[in-house]
Every structure is written in structure tokens, then in C-alpha cells.
Symmetry: C2
Subunit: 128 residues, 2 copies
DNA sequence: ATGACTGTATGATAACACCCATACAGTAGC
DNA sequence: GCTACTGTATGGGTGTTATCATACAGTCAT
């Protein structure tokens, strides 16, 4: 039934917590492409939040290309297409990587620590 | 004179753009510890924004431990202390790495591409 | 075609983010 | 102590974010 863990007082918005966790489940393969997600209402009551909050999360995920919603039928994990050109991907990756690198440097982490952490997380998520 | 490039219509707030770029300059060593930053007013007029916007950026950087402000004297790059325990650092790194990994997977990037991007950015920033 | 499930749309509200104008206060050279 | 520089503090305006309550509309098994 896809257990999500929400902290309403964490400062990060509920809809974003939902998004992030579903994204993670999709990336890690726990949610397969085409699989049906919990219905908006079901998830809303399960998390004790308003349905509109879930709508927001699902809608954003749809815009991000991770989810597909069909009226009357439900919400489903999108068939991953990856409509980014090699150039766009490279640029986006660079931006994400820089953010990580700068934050890590700020914290006093060594390069090795950073690389290891990234490899660890990639393992949980990638299927190359 | 520390040239910053700001885009007011990028969606990302001005104060955050200022923060990010200064953080990057510090991390990359272009701004050394103890060095004086541009004064709030000088930077504000240079970027054609209100001084309060710069105040916000500097204040947040101060809270992040990257900058130190002294009334009447100026704002300076903080002596990096790194007050995080090994455990805290590890946890923070994991969180950053996971975010990167999930986003990258979403975009269809391979593990190798991700690692290479991270190594590239670390090179620009680290001094191990 | 009714019932029970799906997603969709609208409108309200409270909080916060962002930016601004302006006034206050410490520091240091003249 | 005046002047010209520093950061600090306060209050306001505008827009967006985040969440809610409630009503609308498509799908499908019975």
C-alpha cells in the first residue's frame, strides 16, 4: 500500500515530501512503470491531509513526467521516456553536481567522502 | 570587485542567487577566509537591488557559518571551522547524494555520467 | 442507471517569501 | 566631533505557497 512517512512540522511542504518519496520509490524500482499509485483520496486519508495536497504532489509529478493521471481510472507511474537531449542532460547534471559539491565543501567533506556517498545512493537507485 | 551575475526573472530569488554564487566563490577559493566581502550597499547598487536583499543573503550565509558580519566594519568570509560531527556530516551527505541520485535517475542519466559530473565539480571546489 | 470508485475544478484563507523605502547605530579617518 | 563609510532594524506592499472545504465530472462493475 506504499507507506509514506510525512513530517508536517519539518518546514518542507507536505506535497514536496510526498513527491520526493514517490520519486525515490520510482527511481529505486519499488514502483514499476505503469503501476497504479494509491488514489488521491486514499493517500490523503492515509496521511491525514487534504486531498488537494496530494493533487498538488501528483500534478507536479505529472509535469515532471514521472506520473500519468487518467480521470476516472487513477494515477500511474509513467513509462519513463527521458525526453532530454544529451546536452540538456549534461547541463542539468552539472548543475546538480555543483550544488552537491559546494554544499559538501562547505561542510568540510573530502572528495572521497562525497564520491562514496553518491555511489552508495546510486546503487540504491540505478539499474545500469 | 567580485562580479556576480544575477537574473531577476529566473524564478530563483535574487538573495539566493547571491548566496549560491558567494558560496561557490568561497568553496573554490576565489574568496579566501578572512577576506572582506563587498559592502551591503556597494553590492546592492552594483546589482541594482535593494540593500535589504543583500542583507538577507549575507545574514543567511552568516547563519550557515560561511560569513561573518561586524557592524561598522564590514562582512568577511568566515574562518571555516566545520562544526559538524562525523555522524552529522555523513547523514547530511547521504541526503544530498540521494537527492542527486534520484533526480539523475529520473532524467535517465547513467551512474557513470553522474559520477563523472560530480568528480568534475569537486575538482573545481575541493583542495584535498 | 445506480453506486462507488477514480481524477478535476473552484474559491477561501492563513502563512510566508520577496523586495522595497527609510531610519537607526557602530567604526574609523580627518 | 564631523564625515563617510560600515552593518542593523522596522514596517509595508505584493505576490506566491500551502492547505483546506466543497462541488463537479469521468469510469466501470453490478
Amino acid at each position: 500500500m506504499l507507506h509514506l512517512q510525512i513530517n508536517p512540522n519539518s518546514g518542507v511542504p507536505v506535497y514536496r515530501q510526498v513527491m520526493d518519496q514517490i520519486k525515490y520509490y520510482i527511481a529505486s524500482g519499488l514502483l514499476a512503470a505503469g503501476e497504479q499509485l494509491p488514489s488521491i483520496r486514499a493517500l490523503a486519508t492515509s496521511l491525514a491531509v487534504n486531498p488537494t495536497t496530494i493533487v498538488k504532489a501528483y500534478t507536479e509529478l505529472q509535469h515532471a513526467g514521472a506520473v500519468e493521471m487518467k480521470q476516472g481510472k487513477g494515477a500511474f507511474v509513467a513509462e519513463s521516456v527521458g525526453g532530454l537531449s544529451e546536452k540538456q542532460l549534461s547541463k542539468a547534471l552539472q548543475q546538480l553536481a555543483r550544488q552537491l559539491a559546494v554544499e559538501a565543501a562547505q561542510m568540510g567533506a573530502t572528495s572521497q567522502q562525497v564520491i562514496e556517498a553518491v555511489q552508495e545512493e546510486l546503487k540504491k537507485v540505478q539499474h545500469d
